[in-house]
């Protein structure tokens, strides 16, 4: 266990201590959480609580179940984190006390979640049984369950679940090829709006930070599907179609992810599935602007928070490398190899530093973004996703 300072001691007490004297020892010092975050240690079912100003790990919280492909959202107060595990576990963590506040197993096989704009509803996307479940963010009691039965009558896995303003969630049905929006009033059953025939095998989706453009990547056809959510009657529209046409599709050993995607002032920079390319979509015209050759199959294309650069990692077997795309020129301007199996990267809220998980080196690197130099290494057990508490205030995270 990584013990540092008061918080670390508090965690140790909470994990090891009995009831007597525990509350006293565990009392955290008065502090904010804006510089805190979590690193998923997927093999061990634990997370590290990190502090980004000191670039340290404060401690580890264990007992979160199967965290393969886990993701995390934060309460508006940034004190609580909701961890979505693969085993259907939904765990609410207290970042200050570094302990599990509440944990439920809500499904059999899950893939991510979202928190509503008012911070009162947490939605979980499920593979098995397919659909979403929505919980009260305070108590984790179930508010609604919406099975994903497509127009073809078959149960579907749900992917690409993100929040929209007005207590709404949007997500895609992988097997059915549909996009659904669930809207929650103050009471009563949610209202579900369905968009049918959006394309084959939507594998992930995300929304732009203005809540205008929802896009899902289509694995079964080369392209993306787009919904303009500012429109009074959003229409299903294919974009970036046929990027594999006329050339072989390179086998995809890992699905690209659209979470934390490459949104810049005018464009979206997106991973191609089956080409070693990043695709640039012009958000004004919704047309392809450029294909940028890159090192491998892109997994994450993450914009620096100011949108000046987009940083990419790659799928197996090119996953030791990170590349940087310069947005004004749309060229790769820098490549480096942090180490074996770079799984994720997360910028600090204003983008001065970036945290990069290097799974097979059991390490997370902290880098100065402008100098592109390493500032610190944080030991971690098979680290995957990195989630900073500032995500609490970002739409669609």
């Amino acid at each position: 266990m990584n013990r540092r300072g008061f918080l670390g001691a508090g965690l140790a007490a909470s994990l090891l201590g009995g009831a007597a004297g525990r509350a006293e020892e565990r009392t955290p010092p008065l502090r904010g959480t804006g510089s805190l975050g979590l690193i998923v240690e997927r093999a061990t079912g634990s997370v590290l609580v990190i502090e980004t100003m000191q670039r340290i790990s404060l401690g580890r919280i264990e007992g979160l179940g199967d965290l393969s492909h886990a993701s995390i959202v934060f309460s508006p107060c940034e004190r609580y984190a909701y961890v979505f595990g693969r085993d259907g576990g939904l765990t609410k963590l207290d970042l200050l006390e570094m302990r599990i506040e509440k944990r439920i197993v809500q499904g059999g096989n899950s893939i991510g979640g979202a928190i509503s704009d008012d911070g009162r509803l947490v939605a979980v996307s499920n593979y098995e049984p397919g659909g979403i479940k929505v919980f009260d963010a305070g108590t984790l009691t179930e508010v609604a369950s919406i099975p994903a039965i497509g127009a073809n009558g078959l149960a579907s896995k749900t992917v690409g679940l993100v929040d929209l303003p007005g207590r709404r969630f949007v997500y895609s049905l992988y097997d059915a090829g549909e996009i659904w929006i669930a809207e929650f009033g103050e009471s009563g059953a949610p209202v579900v709006t369905k968009f049918l025939n959006v394309g084959l095998l939507p594998y992930d989706g995300n929304v732009t930070s203005d809540a205008r453009h929802y896009l899902a990547g289509l694995f079964g056809e080369d392209g993306f599907v787009h919904l303009d959510l500012w429109s009074a009657n959003p229409k299903v529209e294919r974009v970036l179609q046929g990027y594999n046409a006329g050339r072989g599709k390179i086998p995809v050993y890992k699905m690209p992810h659209l979470e934390g995607w490459g949104q810049t002032a005018n464009d979206l920079i997106l991973p191609a599935a089956g080409q070693h390319e990043a695709l640039v979509l012009d958000l004004e015209t919704m047309r392809e602007k450029k294909r940028i050759p890159v090192h491998g199959q892109p997994i994450f294309c993450v914009a620096r928070p100011d949108g000046r650069e987009v940083w990419l990692n790659f799928g197996h077997p090119q996953n030791d490398t990170v590349q940087i795309i310069d947005v004004p020129t749309l060229e790769v301007v820098h490549s480096f190899a942090p180490g074996p199996a770079v799984l994720h990267l997360e910028f600090t809220p204003r983008g001065h530093e970036v945290w990069i998980s290097v799974r097979d080196a059991d390490r997370v690197d902290v880098m100065d973004v402008r100098r592109r130099t390493k500032l610190a290494e944080i030991p971690a057990q098979k680290p995957s996703g990195i989630f900073l508490a500032a995500r609490a205030h970002r739409l669609g995270s």
């Binding site: 393969s68 085993d87 096989n109 896995k157 992917v159 086998p251 890992k254 197996h316 199996a341």
Partner: protein
């Protein structure tokens, strides 16, 4: 003397080969759990990809599974691993998936 040197050399060679076999097996286990696991789940119970637990594979023989690993499944995201995984290793993975894959 010459005999014992040869014996020693053979023993040494065997131990090197044995060690390499062991480490490449560890690499295979890690490949399956970590990289196949990105779709099939770290525990192989399934994700976007199907479950690879013995119960889910009962109706497929090891030869069929070996072919799926090497050549993929057209029309699905399962890619062909030929070129990254040898036919022998694919067979070993297939047989062990049916048995219950090592940790």
């Amino acid at each position: 003397m010459r005999f014992s040197v040869a014996t020693f050399a053979a023993a040494l060679l065997a131990s090197i080969v044995g060690a390499a076999g062991q480490s490449s097996r560890e690499k295979l286990v890690s490949l399956v759990r970590e990289d196949c696991g990105s779709c099939h789940g770290l525990t192989l119970k399934g994700g976007l990809g199907s479950s690879l637990l013995p119960g889910a594979l009962a109706n497929k023989d090891a030869g069929t599974l070996t072919a799926i690993i090497l050549d993929g499944v057209p029309g699905t995201p399962m890619p062909p691993w030929r070129g990254l995984i040898s036919p022998e290793d694919a067979r070993w993975i297939a047989e062990n998936l049916k048995e219950g894959f090592p940790k």
